[in-house]
């Protein structure tokens, strides 16, 4: 079985910028895969190469076994890409836009599926509305619908929820998760790390055009030892605990703990110093901690 996406030693330059520096990435069919990284890390460049919007300077990328350069028509048929920019054609209605997109992918009489996609994305009421008259959130839904109109086996979502309200996020993720359960592969880039943590089975992190972490979400989370405790104290923190401070605002502290057991010694120090605890919350490590730690390491 071919991998959904197979990138081998991919390089891309823009002038003197080495946007992708030997990227190797293999995404299996049926995965919900996250591609994370700070701005300028190369996420969108990689997606553009995958979708044929840019051409690689070196290396190979294939989608379900089809080379994106030599077999571009076959590879593009396998992909449904939601672009990052909020773009639309102002001449057409929502239904016309989706019918045209179906036709580009060689599909005639696709209205049954178009209706279903519009239903899942709450677009049915807007089917005959011109694209210009839609709100930003509605336009974003149409972008998602356009990517799904030819039932692609691999769905690529490049920052699909940037600037989008909670309702649309929930509607969209429900539908995308359903498609993923039905066997479609999903490749997601997002700045919302909690989204990636909740949705993605595996995650790759890019930094300066290189893959700096690639593992299951579970393994990435467990790679961070210890946890944190947030405290609101009646007085200042005893000096013996200052070494553990991550954040401080007045008498509100965020302390690092090597393990849950270490909490007992913190409370012991506070009792000895006579400092009263007004509020306390124990925090588990999340993807943001992993992200910050990985991005803080030199390449």
């Amino acid at each position: 079985m071919f991998p959904a996406v197979d990138a081998r030693q991919v390089h891309k330059h823009y002038g003197s910028l080495h946007a992708l520096d030997g990227v190797d990435l293999r995404i299996e069919q049926g995965e919900f895969f996250g591609l994370l990284g700070p701005n300028g890390a190369g996420k969108t460049t990689l997606i553009n190469l995958l979708a044929g919007l840019a051409l690689p300077d070196g290396g190979q990328i294939s989608v379900l076994g089809y080379d994106v350069v030599k077999q571009y028509r076959d590879s593009r048929r396998q992909l449904g890409v939601v672009p990052q920019e909020l773009v639309f054609d102002p001449f057409f209605t929502v239904r016309e836009t989706l019918r045209l997109q179906s036709g580009y992918f060689g599909l005639r009489r696709n209205d049954a599926w178009i209706d279903e996609v519009m239903h899942h994305l709450d677009l049915t009421d807007k089917a005959d509305t011109n694209m210009r008259r839609l709100s930003g959130g509605m336009k974003r839904r149409v972008l998602v619908a356009q990517a799904l109109v030819h039932k692609p086996p691999v769905i690529v979502l490049d920052e699909p929820t940037a600037g989008v309200d909670v309702e649309l996020r929930q509607t969209m993720w429900r539908f995308i998760q359903q498609l993923n359960r039905d066997g479609q592969t999903v490749l997601l880039t997002t700045h919302y790390l909690e989204e990636a943590e909740a949705l993605c089975g595996r995650i790759a992190m890019l930094k300066r055009g290189q893959v700096v972490a690639l593992d299951s979400t579970k393994n990435l989370l467990s790679s961070i030892a210890g946890c944190r405790v947030r405290l609101k104290l009646a007085d200042a923190l005893p000096t013996a605990l200052l070494a553990q401070v991550i954040e401080q605002t007045g008498t509100n502290y965020l302390l690092a703990l090597s393990s849950f057991q270490a909490l007992e010694s913190v409370l012991e120090e506070l009792r000895l110093a006579g400092v009263m605890v007004q509020e306390m919350a124990l925090l588990q490590p999340d993807l943001e901690d992993v992200f910050l730690r990985v991005m803080g390491r030199p390449c």
């Binding site: 919007l53 840019a54 593009r76 672009p83």
Partner: protein, 251 residues
């Protein structure tokens, strides 16, 4: 094939959605030219013996409208799609570069012919030029609009802002069409300008097109056909090579 047809259909649907701008406005502009030039020159100029100046002018204006609108169609559609970013929907689709070319050029031909037909029908109210060889008329209209449609694809892809496209239109297309014999026969020009006109491919398109109406022309219609056909072949090869390379479309 459905990908090509859909892109072609999208381009023609766009023309219909803004028909005031894409069809009616150029017809009105051509009629204003006809009204003014025929009023001023009708009593003073006879280009072909026994042919009224207004009748002589009509084929030139029709062909000028065909050519300018064919160029405007592909070039303006492409630059709008590039600047608004929606060209990405076409670039993401499994559309071959030659299908892309064929769809934009054919849509340009359709708009060029539609405007040309509109100008011709409206101009009949002023004068009725004969139709000696209708096939020559159709042949030159189709080849000329395809050539300008192809040039429009190149200009639309090359230009990065509307200003650059307007420069292309105003400093290349417009002078070449106006100096191609739309309003006169090149035999009425001094020898130097006659010789220079022979390097203008638009001259051959207008002259060959006019031959279809009057059965007479400044030079042999076969020679004009060879020049226009040759230019179209060269332009097609150049545009296809540009699209295949992904120039300014696939970074």
């Amino acid at each position: 094939m459905l990908s090509f047809y859909t892109l072609f259909y999208k381009e023609t649907l766009r023309v219909q959605k803004v028909a005031f701008q894409t069809l009616l406005a150029p017809i009105l502009t051509a009629l204003l030219y006809l009204l003014i030039f025929s009023h001023v020159l009708e009593q003073h100029v006879e280009v072909y013996p026994g042919v009224r100046y207004t009748a002589f002018l009509i084929p030139g204006l029709v062909m000028m409208s065909v050519l300018q609108n064919a160029f405007a169609n592909s070039s303006s559609s492409l630059i709008q799609s590039k600047i608004t970013g929606n060209l990405v929907f076409v670039l993401l689709a499994p559309i071959a570069y030659w299908e892309f070319f064929a769809a934009y050029v054919l849509a340009s031909v359709v708009r060029g012919l539609a405007v040309g037909l509109g100008v011709y029908l409206a101009a009949l109210w002023f004068a009725q030029p004969p139709l000696q060889f209708p096939l020559w008329i159709v042949l030159f209209a189709v080849l000329g609009s395809a050539l300008l449609g192809s040039l429009g694809v190149v200009a639309g892809i090359w230009a990065e802002k509307f200003d650059q496209l307007a420069g292309f239109q105003n400093f290349i297309i417009m002078p070449l069409t106006f100096l191609s014999g739309v309003f006169y026969s090149i035999h009425s020009l001094p020898a130097f300008w006659q010789d220079l006109s022979r390097f203008n491919p638009f001259f051959y398109m207008i002259d060959g097109f006019r031959y279809g109406f009057f059965g007479t022309s400044d030079i042999s219609p076969w020679f004009s056909l060879a020049v226009v056909g040759g230019c179209l072949l060269v332009m097609t090869a150049f545009t296809l090579a540009m699209l295949r390379s992904g120039y300014k479309l696939r970074g």
